[in-house]
Symmetry: C2
Subunit: 557 residues, 2 copies
C-alpha cells in the first residue's frame, strides 16, 4: 500500500520523508523527501523496489496521465544544492533503476539528453498504453534500460527540475462560473497539476507537497465540492480553479514547475491584469506547503525595484514579499514554518562563528592548530568591515550629513556584504586542509602510488591556499568604499574608521602569511609564481589603502 512505499523511504539512512500526497481521483501518490545526494538516490531506489513488488500497471488505472508504476522521479535542489548535482543524482538513479529492475528510464528536464525530452509531457505522449509501439522507435530509445515494453512496470521518467511551488491566487469572484471566466482561466493557466514522485540529491532536505483543496484544520472534517478547472496559458505553470466556500471567494490554484522562468510575482501580476479586465478584484494569494527562500527573495527584489525601496535585511525582504503578495489574506504566513530554508538548520554560518567571543578567544588559545591565525584573520577583517558599516550608518540619516545620503546608500551595502562574507570565512580555515590530509593517507608503496599520492597532496595544498586567497580578495574590494567614507562620513566616528581600516589590514596580512607559509609545500612553480604575485599585490593594495584612509582622516581633522 501507500504506507509500505513510504516506510521503505523512511528506512533509508540519511533520508527524511517530508510528505506523502495521495490523490485518489487521479490514482497518483507523490513522495517528497530530502537528503544528501547518495542518500536521496538510495531512498528513491528503495521506493522503486517496493513499488515494483506491489504494483502491476496492467491492473492499475488512474485519471492522471501516467507512463508507468513510477511515473516521474524528479531531483530538486534545495538549500544551496546545485542543479548539476541533481542532474548527477537523476542520471545515477536512472542508471541504477534500469540496471536493478530492468525497466526503461527516460531523462527529462535539465538532465535530458535529447531536445524532444525536455518535458514530462513530451515523454508521456502515448502514456503507458503507447509504450509498446513508441519505445522501439529510435527517437524514443530509453536513456537507460531495455528498449522494450515491460507491461508490469511501464516506464519511468527521471530528471532534475526546480522546486515546484503550489500557488493560489484569491479572486473575489462569484460561486457561479461564467464562461468568460473559464476561458480566461483556462487560457492563462491551461495546464493540470502533474503529480511527481520526487527526490532530492542535495545534502539539505528537499520538501514538497501536492496540490489540494483548501482544507479546514479540522480532524472531523470534510471538504466542499469545488469546481476543478484546468486551463492553461502561463508558461511553466499548471492551474485549476474552484470555489472556496469558507472564504467566500474563488481561487486559482496552480503549480509553478519552473519558478526561475516564471516567478511567483509574475504569475500574480498576470492574474491581476486579467482580473481587472473582468472587473474582478484579486485579494491576495496563498502558498500551499513549503516555498524556497530564493522564490521569496525574487519577489521581494521585484517589488523593491518597482517601488524603489531601500532594504538590506533579509527578514524585511521576506516581510515585504509576504505583504505585497497578500500571503496573509487566508491565514497567517509564518516565514519560519513556510520557508523550507528557515525550517532547516542554518549551515551558512560555521561553528566557530557561533561561539561566543570569549569561547572563540579561549579556543584560539587552546593547544590545537585550529582555530588559529587563519580564523582570527577572518574575524578581525570582519570586524573591520563592520566598523566601516557603522561609520556609514552613523552618517546616513543624520541632519548634518543629509546631503551625503545618496553616497551612503551606495557605500553601506559594500561594507555590509563584505562583513557577512568574511564571517563565513572564519570557519573556512578549519576545513581548508581536509583534502590535503586525506591525500596524505593514500598508499605510497609503489612508484605509481607515490605519484598519485603526491599529485593529490599537491591539489589539496592548492585548495587550502585558496581559503586565505579568498579572504584577501574580499578585503581588497572595500578600499574604495572606505576611502570615500573617510572623506564624507560623520567626523564623530573618526576613530572607529581608523580601527576598522587597521583591522582590515591585519586580516589581509594574516591571509598573506598563511598563503606564504603554505606555499612552501607547493611544487608547481607556475602556480606558485602566479599566486605569490597575486597575494603580494593584495598585500600592497591593503597597505596602500589603509595608509590613504588614515591620511584622509588625519587631514580631515
Amino acid at each position: 500500500i501507500i504506507q509500505e512505499i513510504a516506510q521503505s523511504i523512511q528506512n533509508t539512512d540519511g533520508v527524511d520523508l517530508l510528505d506523502t500526497d495521495c490523490s485518489p481521483s487521479t490514482n497518483r501518490t507523490v513522495y517528497t523527501f530530502v537528503g544528501s545526494p547518495d542518500d536521496v538516490i538510495e531512498g528513491a531506489l528503495n521506493a522503486a523496489r517496493t513499488a515494483y513488488k506491489h504494483i502491476d500497471m496492467t491492473k492499475h488505472k488512474g485519471e492522471h496521465p501516467r507512463i508507468g508504476a513510477l511515473d516521474v522521479c524528479p531531483f530538486i535542489p534545495v538549500q544551496g544544492v546545485e542543479m548539476e548535482e541533481c542532474i548527477y543524482c537523476a542520471r545515477k538513479f536512472g542508471e541504477k533503476l534500469a540496471a536493478e529492475l530492468n525497466v526503461p528510464v527516460f531523462l527529462y528536464g535539465f538532465a535530458a539528453q535529447h531536445e524532444h525530452r525536455k518535458t514530462v509531457s513530451q515523454i508521456r505522449v502515448g502514456e503507458y498504453e503507447g509504450i509498446n509501439e513508441k519505445i522501439t522507435k529510435p527517437e524514443w530509445k530509453p536513456d537507460y534500460g531495455p528498449a522494450e515494453f515491460i507491461s508490469r512496470w511501464g516506464a519511468t521518467i527521471c530528471g532534475a527540475r526546480k522546486f515546484l511551488i503550489s500557488y493560489n491566487v484569491n479572486v473575489l469572484g462569484t460561486k457561479e462560473k461564467h464562461d468568460r471566466n473559464l476561458v480566461h482561466l483556462l487560457h492563462c493557466i491551461q495546464s493540470i497539476v502533474p503529480q511527481d514522485f520526487p527526490s532530492c540529491i542535495a545534502p539539505p532536505p528537499y520538501s514538497t507537497s501536492g496540490t489540494r483543496e483548501s482544507l479546514p484544520l479540522l480532524v472531523s472534517s470534510h471538504w466542499g465540492g469545488g469546481q476543478s478547472v484546468r486551463p492553461g496559458c502561463l508558461k511553466n505553470c499548471q492551474g485549476i480553479g474552484w470555489w472556496l466556500d469558507e472564504a467566500n471567494l474563488a481561487q486559482v490554484s496552480l503549480n509553478l514547475t519552473d519558478h526561475d522562468a516564471t516567478p511567483i510575482h509574475t504569475v500574480y501580476e498576470e492574474v491581476c491584469k486579467h482580473a481587472q479586465d473582468l472587473r474582478i478584484p484579486v485579494t491576495g494569494s496563498q502558498i500551499v506547503g513549503l516555498v524556497p527562500l530564493r522564490a521569496m527573495l525574487q519577489t521581494a527584489e521585484y517589488y523593491i525595484k518597482k517601488e524603489n525601496l531601500f532594504i538590506l535585511e533579509e527578514d524585511q525582504k521576506v516581510h515585504l514579499a509576504v505583504n505585497r503578495l497578500g500571503l496573509n489574506s487566508l491565514g497567517h504566513f509564518n516565514p519560519k514554518e513556510k520557508i523550507i530554508e528557515y525550517r532547516l538548520p542554518d549551515q551558512r554560518v560555521g561553528p566557530l562563528a557561533k561561539k561566543t567571543v570569549q569561547e572563540f578567544i579561549t579556543a584560539v588559545a587552546a593547544r590545537t592548530p585550529a582555530p588559529g591565525g587563519g580564523s582570527v584573520a577572518a574575524a578581525v577583517a570582519a570586524m573591520g568591515s563592520a566598523l566601516g558599516a557603522m561609520v556609514g550608518q552613523m552618517t546616513y540619516g543624520k541632519r548634518q550629513w543629509e546631503m551625503y545620503d545618496a553616497h551612503m546608500r551606495k557605500l553601506i551595502p559594500v561594507l555590509h556584504n563584505t562583513m557577512k562574507e568574511l564571517i563565513t570565512l572564519i570557519d573556512s580555515d578549519t576545513t581548508a586542509f581536509n583534502d590535503y590530509m586525506a591525500a596524505m593517507k593514500l598508499p605510497k608503496n609503489t612508484p605509481e602510488e607515490i605519484v598519485i599520492r603526491e599529485t593529490a597532496m599537491e591539489a589539496g595544498l592548492k585548495k587550502a591556499i585558496e581559503v586565505p586567497m579568498s579572504l584577501a580578495r574580499h578585503v581588497n574590494k572595500v578600499w574604495e568604499a572606505t576611502k570615500e567614507l573617510a572623506t564624507l562620513s560623520n567626523i564623530g566616528t573618526k576613530s572607529d574608521l581608523q580601527v576598522g581600516v587597521k583591522c582590515l589590514e591585519t586580516g589581509l596580512l594574516g591571509a598573506y602569511w598563511n598563503v606564504t607559509i603554505n606555499m612552501e609545500g607547493v611544487k608547481d612553480e607556475i602556480y606558485k609564481q602566479k599566486v605569490l604575485e597575486e597575494v603580494e599585490h593584495h598585500r600592497r593594495v591593503a597597505e596602500t589603502g589603509c595608509r590613504e584612509v588614515l591620511k584622509i582622516l588625519q587631514d580631515r581633522q
Copy 2:
C-alpha cells in the same frame, strides 16, 4: 517572634535572606542576608526596627554573651565587594540605627575607630549588665548614639569582617574522651562559638549560617549526644568537639572568623600535627554551609606550592583543594553549591564578551557608538594574546622541544593571564564614558555650578581615557614573552605567532587612537602631557616589539 524579624528582612527590596539560625540554648538568633550596599543597610535597619518593637532586654536572658537586643551586626564582603564598602555600610548602618532608635552603637573589626574595639570580645566586656557603668567612661563612648544605658535595648556592635567559615576536621578517635585529647583540643581551639546577627553590604549575596552539629537530612530525626569541648588555642578561630555517631568518628568543629590570617589549610595542618602526636589519624574535613572562593584558592595555592604542581585552571585548583582537605569524606563537596561565588551570577565577564562572534561583529556594525573601536581593539588584542598562548602550548610537552619546557611554563602564564584581562576590557569601552555623561547632566546655571560641572566632566573624561590606557599597559607587558616565544617555540606555529603579534599591535594602536581623540577634551595640560607621553611610549614599544618578533621569526626560517 523569630519569624517576624525574618519577615521584616525579606520584605526589604534587594535583600535575600539566606539563613535564620536559632540557638535555643544560647538564646541567640543569627540572620544572614545579602544584597547591594544600600539594600543590606535597609534590611538590617528593618530587622532592628522589628527587634526594637518586640524585644525588651530587661526581660531577656541567654547563655551566650550578649550586649543588647541586636548584639552584633557584621557586614561581610561577598563576591568582589571591597572591605572599604563594608566599612561604609557598617558605619552608615550604625549612624542610622543610632539616629532612629536612639541606642548606643559601637564599631568593631575593620570599621573600628579605636584600637581597643577591634574585637567583639573587647566591646562585650561587662556584657549587657555592665553597660550602665562602662558607657560613661571616655574609652567606651559609643561611636554613635547616646552615651547612656538604654535598658530596653542595651547596645549594638556593628562592623565589618571577613567571611566566617564553619570548618570541621574529622578525627578517627574514640567515643571515649581521653584527658590528653581534651587538653590538646582546648589549647588548639580555646574559643566558643559566637553567634552573630550578620548582614552584608556587597552587591552579591552574603550568606552565612550558624554552627551546629552534623545533621542528618531526615525529617523525623534526632541528633546524637556528642561531647562538647570548648578549648581554645588557634588564632582567629573558635572551636568545639563532639562525637559523630553516624560516621563513627570525632569532629573538631570550629568557626574561622578571619580566614586571611588563619586559612583553612593552616587549621587542617595544625590539627593533623597534634593528632599524629596522639597516634590518631585525621581522615578529612568538612565545610558546613558556604565558603568563599578566595579561601578555596588559598588552600589550592598552598598545596600547589607545597607539592610543586603546575595548574592553570581555576576549577582544577578547586578540585585540588577539595581533595587535599578531604572535603568529600563526609558527603560530596559540590563546588557549584558550596562555593558562594559559584551560586551567584558571574559578573566578571561583560555582556559584549558573552555575545557570539557573529553577534558581536554585527553589533559593531550597528548604528551605535558602542560597541565600537574600543571594544574591537580589546577583542583583537585578546586574540593576539591567545595566539601567543597557543604557540606556547603547542611547544610545551612536545618531544622535539622538550628541553624548552621550563621556559614554556614561564611564558604561557604571561600570555594566558593577559588574554583574560583583555577579555574583560572588551566591555570596559562601553562604560568608559559613564562618569563623563553624568557630569554633562549637572546644572550649569551659575558660575559655581559651571565650575563644578566642568570639573566633573574633566574627571570623567580622565576616567574614560584610563580604559584604553589600561589596554595599552596590558598589551605592553607581553612583548618580552612573545620575543622569547619567537625564539624557542614550535616552528610549526610560526604564522600563528605572526598573526598574534600583529593583533597585539592593532589592539595597541586602537587604544592609542582612542586616547588621542579623547585627549582633545582635556584641559589639564600637565595631565595631558604626561598621558600623551606615556601612550606615545606604548605605541613605540608595541611597534618595536611587533617588528622584532617578526624579524626573529623571519630569520628563524
